[in-house]
Every structure is written in structure tokens, then in C-alpha cells.
């Protein structure tokens, strides 16, 4: 099973090299690599489900001297989501890019991004995490600027500089921890870290750096332009996976490594910022005139929900109520990943077939692109949090936890945010189902619409029904 961990890193990395060296068969190599990587993620998930948390010492050196890879329920689930979303987006991308030179530039960077995501989710070492963050940041920026258009390049540049600032803060925190405890191994640190000036400062620095990267309000300013001007499959992965990788690290640090250091007051601050993100992001999504911008602002809002869980998880005593809240958090994160990827892919189809993504001019899209419109509707169900989507379960646990902990503010924020989400989704659907008769015949573009439909369907239907096994898996984790 531990070989699956190496596979998750070595396969996409080898694939990146192969697509670079063999540009003519790059698409076939990349899809093959994607399938193999997805199999590895499945193997790891089943391994964690049967054997519990796994770890692997690279080079055979004990953790601390060397670098250890670790996988528990949380990271195995996120790795599986990464594989499914990235595979679907790969199939989509194989039809999306028209010219051979575009494809030759896209595939190596794409597989490097995938490598970075897997490496980050598996890493058990602080400095190694910094390297994976940089690999992730640089490959994401390179992909976001792929079109070479001015808006995309300007957004990518800002994305890069903000990301670097975040990495530097993270690295400053790492230095501080190494000065205090003499190790970079996360597992060892979680036993050693004690409340005190160096732990507080390190946590504050690393969290600030990661919040910049995960675009938590008010540090979200760079996200909408970058996500809205990237090519569709790239936007999908940026919104669904890349920001979530930084969120995963915040979660890992707060609930695992620094569990003894974090205070309810600090968690409340994160919760308040999350509330700000929900309201601000949803409001701007409602105001957006372009579909991609709407989706990007919706990402700001959806990340906000995830931070609402922090004060709850700190307030609730460990026990079934807290476990359920933690499960709800993961469920919400997974659902958003699938739904947002599906949404961005569907928007990409509209943009390519209709030549624009202006919401006001969508009239009749439902007649011309029925499958795409259906994918948007399914993704919308998940973004609003209607049953039977996974987000419904997630938000339900959020509300239950808030009631349990007596923190009513989060209840109000969730309700308002969901109403706003319903408003912006129905606004889009309202235009898409516009009454104006549309002369064209319905179009289906299978290789682009299937991935979008499957991802959205996963979010709206499958995840909600797979709650029980997932809860069990998570108990092995955090």
C-alpha cells in the first residue's frame, strides 16, 4: 500500500517528463498517467480504510533525519478527490485545447501541478511542505497565464507575488519551529509543541501565509481575476483543488500539529473572517456579470463556510458531536471541489460554443447546450446546499454543531449565504432557460460535457449518499 504513496508522486512527475519529451503523443501519455494516478489514489484510499493511517520513510531514513510521507483518512479522501477532479479535467482538456502547441505547453505543467498537489497532501515534513507549496504555486501561475492575454498575465503575476509572500511567511514560521524544537517532522512536532511565544508566533505566521494562499476574506483580492481569466480546465482545478490544498494545511496545523496551542479566541477570529467571506463572496457572485467571475466569487464564499467550522471544532468537547462536525467540514470541502470543478468546466463549454460568458446574454443556452445547462444546475444544487448533495450534509452538521456549541452567529451567516447562493444560481438558470426562441439545434460535445456532468453529479448526488462510509474513514484520521 505504501507503494501507492510513491506512485501518487512519481507517476504524474514521470508523466510530466514524458509529455515534455514526447510532445506528439502528449495527450495520450497524459490521460494514461491520469488513469494510473487515479488507480494509485484508489489503492491508497482502500489501504487507509483497511489498515488505518499509513506512513513511508523516504530513503529508509527515520522521520526527522529523512522525510516521511503520511496518509490518513483526511488526506486519502482529498487525494481521491484530486485524482477524480484532475482526471475529469484532463479528459476535458484533451478536447479543449485546439492546437498542438497549446497542448504541448499545457500537459507538462498540468502534470507538475498534479504532482505538487499529491506531494503536498502526502507530506509529513514542514520544509518539504514549503517546497510543495512553491511547486504548486509556480505551476498554478504558469497554467493561469497560459492564454497569454493581458488580463490573464496581470492576474497571474499578482497571484504569483501574493503566493510568494505567503510562502515566505510560512517559511519564517518553519524556521521558528526548527529553532525551538529542532525537528521538521510533523508527527514529532505534534508531541513537542507547547503553548508559548515561539509556537504562537510560528502558528500565526504560517496561518497568515496559508490564508493568503487559500484566499480567505479579506486576503481574497487576488483570486477572482486569476481564476476567472485562466483556461477552463485550469480554473476548475485552481478553484476546486489548489486553494483547498492550502486550506488542508491550515486544518492540519490547527487540529493536529498545534492542537494544544490554538485558542478559542483565535478560532473565533478565523470564523469571523469566514463569515465575512461567505457574505462578501456571495454578494459579489450575485453582482457578477460574467459566469466565470460568478464562479470565482462563489469560491471565495464557499471557502468561508469551511472556516466557520473552526470555532465549533474548538468549542465542542471531543466526542460524537465534534466528530460529526469534522466530518461535515470534510464533506463540504469535497462537495465544493467536485461542484466547482464541474461548474467551471460547464462554463468553459458555454464560453467556447457561444463565444462569451456574459450572464445576461445566456438566453436559450438551455436549448442549445442542454447537457451543459444540466451540469450547471447540478453544480448549483451542491453550491446552494440542497438535499441530497454532500453540501446539504455538510451544512447540516455545521448548523447542528453551531446549535450544540451555542454559537448562533454561524447559523445566521449560513442561512444568508445559502439564500444568496440560491439567488445567483437561479439568476444564471433563469437566463439560460430564457424564453427567446433559439434557431440552433441542440449541440452535444461529449468529451467536454461528460466530465462536467460527472463531477457535478458526484457533488449533487453521490457524495451525499456516501456519508456513512466517509465518517468511518475520517475517524481513523484526525
Amino acid at each position: 500500500m505504501t507503494d501507492a504513496m510513491i506512485g501518487l508522486i512519481a507517476l504524474p512527475l514521470a508523466g510530466a517528463l514524458a509529455t515534455l519529451l514526447l510532445p506528439r503523443s502528449a495527450t495520450a501519455v497524459a490521460i494514461g498517467t491520469g488513469l494510473a494516478t487515479t488507480v494509485a489514489a484508489g489503492l491508497l484510499l482502500s489501504g487507509v480504510a483497511t489498515q488505518g493511517a499509513l506512513h513511508y520513510e523516504i530513503g529508509g531514513w527515520s522521520a526527522g533525519l529523512g522525510i516521511a510521507l503520511r496518509a490518513d483518512g483526511l488526506s486519502a479522501l482529498l487525494l481521491m478527490m484530486t485524482a477524480l477532479v484532475a482526471l475529469a479535467a484532463s479528459v476535458y482538456a484533451s478536447a479543449y485545447f485546439n492546437t498542438a502547441s497549446e497542448r504541448a505547453r499545457f500537459w507538462p505543467l498540468w502534470l507538475l501541478l498534479w504532482t505538487a498537489l499529491n506531494a503536498l497532501l502526502l507530506s509529513g515534513d514542514l520544509f518539504n511542505l514549503y517546497v510543495t507549496l512553491e511547486l504548486l504555486g509556480l505551476s498554478a501561475v504558469a497554467l493561469a497565464s497560459l492564454s497569454g492575454r493581458r488580463a490573464a498575465v496581470a492576474a497571474a503575476l499578482r497571484y504569483l507575488l501574493v503566493g510568494l509572500l505567503g510562502s515566505m511567511m510560512f517559511l519564517a514560521g518553519v524556521s521558528l519551529l526548527y529553532a525551538g524544537y529542532g525537528t521538521l517532522d510533523l508527527a514529532a512536532l505534534s508531541h513537542m509543541v507547547a503553548p508559548g511565544p515561539s509556537a504562537w508566533t510560528a502558528l500565526a505566521l504560517m496561518t497568515t501565509g496559508l490564508l493568503l494562499k487559500t484566499a480567505l476574506f479579506p486576503l481574497h483580492f487576488w483570486l477572482p481575476p486569476a481564476h476567472a481569466s485562466a483556461p477552463a480546465p485550469v480554473s476548475a482545478v485552481l478553484s476546486a483543488l489548489v486553494v483547498k490544498a492550502a486550506f488542508y494545511l491550515v486544518l492540519r496545523l490547527w487540529l493536529d500539529v498545534f492542537a494544544t496551542v490554538v485558542t478559542p479566541a483565535a478560532a473565533n477570529l478565523l470564523g469571523l473572517l469566514g463569515a465575512g467571506a461567505v457574505l462578501w463572496g456571495s454578494w459579489h457572485a450575485l453582482q457578477a456579470e460574467r459566469l466565470k467571475l460568478l464562479a470565482a466569487y462563489s469560491t471565495v464564499a464557499q471557502l468561508g463556510y469551511l472556516f466557520l467550522f473552526f470555532p465549533l471544532l474548538l468549542a465542542l468537547p471531543s466526542g460524537p458531536a465534534r466528530d460529526l462536525a469534522a466530518g461535515g467540514l470534510v464533506m463540504l470541502a469535497l462537495t465544493h471541489g467536485f461542484a466547482k470543478a464541474g461548474l467551471f468546466l460547464a462554463i468553459g463549454v458555454i464560453q467556447q460554443r457561444c463565444g462569451h460568458d456574459t450572464i445576461r446574454q445566456l438566453d436559450g443556452t438551455a436549448q442549445r447546450l442542454p447537457a451543459t445547462t444540466f451540469a450547471i444546475a447540478l453544480a448549483g444544487v451542491a453550491l446552494i446546499g440542497l438535499p441530497p448533495s454532500g453540501a446539504f450534509l455538510g451544512k447540516w452538521q455545521l448548523l447542528a454543531g453551531a446549535v450544540e456549541a451555542g454559537q448562533w452567529l454561524w447559523l445566521v451567516v449560513t442561512a444568508v449565504g445559502s439564500l444568496l447562493a440560491a439567488a445567483y444560481i437561479f439568476k444564471v438558470l433563469g437566463h439560460a432557460f430564457g424564453h427567446r426562441p433559439y434557431p440552433n439545434q441542440p449541440v452535444t460535445v461529449a468529451r467536454e460535457e461528460w466530465p462536467a456532468l460527472l463531477l457535478a453529479g458526484m457533488a449533487a448526488l453521490v457524495l451525499g449518499l456516501s456519508g456513512a462510509p466517509m465518517w468511518k474513514l475520517l475517524e481513523l484520521g484526525i
Binding site: 514549503y130 497569454g148 493581458r150 503575476l157 504569483l160 510568494l164 509572500l165 515566505m168 526548527y178
Partner: protein, 95 residues
């Protein structure tokens, strides 16, 4: 506590702050890139100071290796940022 270690570590903190301030305030994007590099150098100084054990004693090699990696990562990021700047200027001139 070693005086040398503290002296260099505190200087590192100052350089980090100078870099951060420049990165947030500068209008010129090239100088923002320089500022981020300065900030990185400050962090590297912290690490090298942490590694120092005193005159005549072998320093801890781990932070040295980390800084070497960090320097290469920093130059990679700088190179990409400068390529983006160049492309942006080319696009602006086309307008």
C-alpha cells in the same frame, strides 16, 4: 545564548520586515519582486543563525541545506515573475 546568533537572527527579523514593507508598498512591480527577494534573504538569515553553534563548533547542516534549496526556489520564482512582467509590457505596447 550566543551573542552572534542573536545579533544575526535579530537582523534577519529586520530584513524580513523591510522586505514585507517594500513588497506591500512599492508601486513598481520590479521593486516588489526585489522586496520579496529581500524578505526571503531575511528568512534565510534566521535559518543560518539558528544553525550557528559558536566559533569552532560544527554548525547544524540541516538549515544550510534548507537555505540552499530556498535560494534555488527563490530564483525560479523570480525568473517566472520577470517573464510575466515582460509579457505584460509586450501586451501593453501592443495596445
Amino acid at each position: 545564548m550566543l551573542t552572534t546568533q542573536i545579533l544575526y537572527a535579530l537582523t534577519g527579523c529586520m530584513i524580513v520586515a523591510l522586505g514585507l514593507r517594500g513588497a506591500l508598498l512599492h508601486a513598481s512591480v520590479l521593486q516588489r519582486i526585489v522586496a520579496i527577494n529581500v524578505m526571503g534573504a531575511g528568512v534565510f538569515m534566521l535559518l543560518i543563525a539558528v544553525a550557528y553553534r559558536g566559533p569552532g563548533l560544527p554548525p547544524d547542516p540541516v538549515p544550510h541545506a534548507l537555505v540552499l534549496t530556498g535560494i534555488v526556489v527563490a530564483v525560479s520564482a523570480t525568473a517566472l515573475a520577470l517573464a510575466l512582467v515582460r509579457r505584460l509590457h509586450a501586451e501593453q505596447e501592443d495596445d
